[in-house]
C-alpha cells in the first residue's frame, strides 16, 4: 500500500501547534511510519511540489503570497486540514480588524513602510477546509485522533460534548457560578479544560459547538459582566467567527 503523501505548512502565526507535533515524541515516530511527509519546511529540506493527499496548514494567511499559495494548495490537495486556532478561526491575529491595520502599520513601523499583510482571517475565508484540529495550541491527543481517523479512511469527527463536560470531569468549580465569563458552554470539547484547570479563563479556542445557543450565554454574562468585558471574551479567538461577530454587532447596536 502506498503511504499517503503529506505536506505541512505554517502561514503567519506562532508555530506553537507544530511544536505540539514534535511534542508527540514517540507517537510522531509512529505516525511518520504510516505516512510520507514530502514537504515540511520547519522539519526538513526534502521538498516535493505535490500533489498531496493531505495538506495540514497552521497559521493565518495574512500576506498576498500566503493567500495565493493557500488557493494553490487547495487545488493540489485531496484533503486540507486546518491546524490550530489561527488556521481554523483566525485566532489571536484575527483580533486586529482589517480597517485598523493601516493605522497600526504607521504607529509600529512608519508611514513610509510598505506592508505585506492584508488581513488575518481563517483558511475558510479563502478556500474550503475539510477538517479543523482546534486549539490554541492544539492538544496532542486530538491530533493523533484526527490523524488516525484520516489514515483509516474515516472522516474525522469532533467529540460530542462541550468543554463543560471535561471541566466537570476535571473537578473545577464552575466559573459562571463564580460570576466569571466563560466560553466553555458553547465551545467544542477536546481540550480537557486545560485552561480553566490552570486557573485561566476559557475563550473558546476549540471552536463553537454545533447548535450552541450563543445569545443565551451572553444573557448570562450580562448578569455580572459589562459589555466591554463580554466583547473581549467573545473576540479573543472569535473575532472572525460570523456567529460571534453577529452577536458583538448586536451588543454595539444595543449600546447606541
Amino acid at each position: 500500500m502506498t503511504k499517503p503523501k503529506i505536506a505541512i505548512y505554517d502561514f503567519t502565526d506562532c508555530e506553537g501547534c507544530e511544536v505540539k507535533l514534535v511534542s508527540l515524541r514517540e507517537r510522531l515516530l509512529l505516525i511518520e511510519k504510516k505516512v510520507d511527509i514530502i514537504n515540511w519546511r520547519l522539519g526538513q529540506e526534502h521538498f516535493e511540489s505535490g500533489p498531496y493527499d493531505i495538506t495540514i496548514i497552521e497559521g493565518t494567511p495574512v500576506t498576498e503570497y500566503e493567500i495565493k499559495l493557500l488557493k494553490e494548495l487547495r487545488e493540489n490537495s485531496k484533503i486540507l486540514i486546518a491546524l490550530g486556532a489561527c488556521a481554523a478561526l483566525g485566532g489571536i491575529p484575527g483580533i486586529m480588524p482589517e480597517k485598523d491595520r493601516k493605522v497600526w502599520y504607521e504607529k509600529i513601523y512608519t508611514a513610509q513602510y510598505h506592508p505585506k499583510g492584508i488581513d488575518a482571517s481563517p483558511l475558510s475565508a479563502h478556500v474550503s477546509v475539510d477538517f479543523s484540529i482546534h486549539g490554541c495550541p492544539v492538544d496532542e491527543d486530538e491530533v493523533v485522533k484526527a490523524v488516525e481517523e484520516l489514515l483509516s479512511g474515516k472522516a474525522p469527527t469532533y467529540c460530542g460534548y462541550s468543554v463543560c463536560f471535561e471541566c466537570k470531569v476535571a473537578g473545577n468549580p464552575c466559573r459562571i457560578v463564580e460570576s466569571k465569563p466563560c466560553m466553555g458552554p458553547i465551545t467544542q470539547g477536546g481540550c480537557k479544560a486545560v485552561c480553566i484547570s490552570g486557573g485561566s479563563p476559557c475563550y473558546g479556542c476549540f471552536g463553537i459547538r454545533d447548535q450552541a445557543n450563543i445569545p443565551a450565554l451572553i444573557k448570562i454574562f450580562e448578569k455580572f459582566a459589562d459589555e466591554n468585558e463580554i466583547k473581549r471574551y467573545l473576540t479573543m479567538f472569535h473575532n472572525r467567527t460570523p456567529q460571534i461577530t453577529e452577536q458583538v454587532k448586536k451588543i454595539d447596536e444595543y449600546k447606541k
Binding site: V19, G43, G198
Partner: protein, 421 residues
C-alpha cells in the same frame, strides 16, 4: 508558487538574497505582520500575558513572563519568593524545551548527514532516546509549573493561579534523575562536533543584574533604558525591524549569555554549576559556536532546575498573590498625561533579551505596548556574519557556501515569527 524558497528548519519565513557576482548578501524576512502592539491596546492587564505568548509557540513562557513583569512593574507589585522560584523554574524548562527542539531537530541534521531530526531514531536510537527524554523533561517542567507545555495557563499578575504541589515537584525531581545522563551527554556531544570556521567581530549583549551588558565596545545600561540603546531600523526587504545596540550590530542569546558571565545567569545562590570545561571550548568570535553554547545551557538549566526544585521542596511554599496598591495621585503625577501606569518587563528568553513595555490607563486597559524580541536584535549580526562568511569562503564552491550560509542562519536559532510579531 508551491516552492521551497524559504530557509528550511528555522522558525518562520526568511531567505538569503545572495549576489554571487558582487559577493553580497541580504537577509530577507517575509513573515506577515500580526501587529501585536496594536492587538494589545484595548485589552486588560490580565489579558496581556495571555495574548503575548501567541507571538511565539517556541518561547511562549518567555513572552508570558515578560508581560507579567511589565504589568507588575507598572503596578509596583513585588512577587513572593515562591513565585520567583517557580518562574525561574518555568524559564529553565522553557530554555531546555527550546534549545532541545532547535539543536536536535533543526541544527544537528546538518552535522550528521540526515534531513528530518526524527531520522536520528534509526541512525542512532540510543542518542535519540536521550533527545526524547530531554524533550519530555522540558515539556514536563512547563506543564507542571506553567499548566501546559505550550502557552501557559497557571500564571497571573502577582504570581500563580495555582502552584504545583510538593508531590508534583517530587515527580519532576524523579524525571530530572532519569535525564541526568542525557543532559551531560548533550554538552559533551556538542563540544565534540566540528563547527565551520568563521571569524566575526561579534558584539555580544546579555542581561546581568538588571543591566544590559556588552562584551566589547558598548556601555552597560539599565534595562529600563532599553529603548534608547536598542535601536530598531526599517529595511525595505524585511517585515521585521533590524536591531542595533548603541548603533552597532549585536548578537544576543546563549553565546552572549556565556560571554557576559555564565556564573550569575543560571545559578541559584551564586553557585557555579560545573560547566567550565565546556565553556573553555567556546570561541566567542564564531557564531556557529552559539549551538555549543545552547548545549552547555541545556546542562546549566538542567542543573538549575534541580536546585530550584530542591529549594522549593525544603521551604514552605506560599501560593498567595500580593494585591496591587494603587499609587496615589502624587505618585502618579509626573507621568504622561492620560497614561496612568507604565511598566517594563525584560527576560533572557532562549534566544536572548526580550523586552515588553506596557502602559495602562486608570481602569487597567492597555493604552500602549512596545515589544523588542531577541531575533530583531540578532538580524543585523546575522547579516554581518553572512557577509563575513561569504568573504571568508571565496575558495569554496557556490553550493557549499550556500549550505554554510543556511547553517549559519540556523546557528543563530532565529525566531522570525517573534521578530515580526
Amino acid at each position: 508558487m508551491i516552492s521551497n524558497e524559504f530557509i528550511a528548519k528555522i522558525e518562520g519565513h526568511g531567505s538569503l538574497k545572495i549576489d554571487w557576482k558582487n559577493n553580497k548578501v541580504k537577509l530577507n524576512i517575509h513573515e506577515g505582520e500580526r501587529l501585536f502592539e496594536g492587538i494589545l491596546v484595548g485589552r486588560t492587564a490580565e489579558e496581556s500575558h495571555w495574548i503575548t505568548p501567541r507571538i511565539c509557540g517556541v518561547c511562549p513562557i518567555a513572552h508570558n513572563l515578560a508581560s507579567l513583569s511589565a504589568i507588575e512593574d507598572a503596578y509596583g507589585i513585588e512577587i513572593n519568593e515562591t513565585s520567583k522560584l517557580l518562574r525561574k523554574l518555568m524559564m529553565a524548562g522553557q530554555i531546555i524545551q527550546s534549545h532541545v527542539l532547535h539543536l536536535f531537530f533543526l541544527v544537528l541534521p546538518d552535522y550528521i548527514g540526515i534531513d528530518r531530526g526524527t531520522e536520528l531514531a534509526q541512525k542512532d536510537p540510543k542518542s535519540f532516546a536521550k533527545v526524547l527524554l530531554l524533550k519530555e523533561l522540558g515539556d514536563d517542567i512547563a506543564r507542571i509549573v506553567a499548566g501546559r507545555n505550550v502557552h501557559p495557563t497557571r500564571t497571573t499578575v502577582g504570581g500563580f493561579h495555582k502552584i504545583p504541589t510538593k508531590k508534583d515537584l517530587n515527580i519532576l525531581l524523579e524525571k530530572l534523575n532519569e535525564t541526568k545522563d542525557a543532559a551531560e551527554w548533550t554538552a559533551k556531544f556538542f563540544s565534540k562536533l566540528e563547527y565551520p570556521e568563521l571569524n566575526v567581530e561579534l558584539e555580544l549583549v546579555a542581561h546581568k543584574d538588571g543591566q544590559i551588558v556588552s562584551s566589547n565596545f558598548g556601555a552597560t545600561v539599565s534595562i529600563k533604558d532599553y529603548k534608547e540603546n536598542i535601536e530598531e531600523e526599517l529595511r525595505d526587504y524585511s517585515t521585521a525591524k533590524f536591531g542595533k545596540y548603541q548603533g552597532r550590530e549585536m548578537m544576543v542569546g546563549s553565546l552572549a549569555r556565556l560571554a557576559i558571565g555564565f556564573k550569575e545567569t543560571p545559578s541559584v545562590d551564586g553557585e557555579t554549576l560545573g560547566v567550565d570545561k565546556f565553556i573553555d571550548k567556546l570561541n566567542f568570535q564564531n557564531p556557529f559556536h552559539n549551538n555549543l553554547a545552547q548545549a552547555i545551557e541545556i546542562l546549566q538549566f538542567y542543573k538549575q532546575a534541580r536546585k530550584i526544585i530542591e529549594k522549593l521542596l525544603q521551604m514552605e511554599m506560599d501560593a498567595k498573590i500580593p494585591t496591587s496598591e494603587t499609587p496615589s495621585v502624587e505618585e502618579r503625577s509626573g507621568k504622561t498625561l492620560g497614561v496612568e501606569y507604565k511598566g517594563i518587563g525584560a527576560v533572557e528568553a532562549p534566544r536572548g533579551g526580550l523586552y515588553h513595555e506596557i502602559h495602562l490607563d486608570s481602569s487597567g486597559i492597555i493604552t500602549y505596548a512596545n515589544i523588542i524580541t531577541p531575533t530583531v536584535q540578532n538580524l543585523t549580526s546575522m547579516e554581518k556574519s553572512s557577509q563575513a562568511l561569504l568573504d571568508q569562503t571565496t575558495d569554496k564552491d557556490q553550493k557549499e557556501r550556500e549550505k554554510l550560509l543556511n547553517m549559519l542562519i540556523r546557528a543563530y536559532d532565529p525566531c522570525i515569527t517573534c521578530s515580526v510579531h
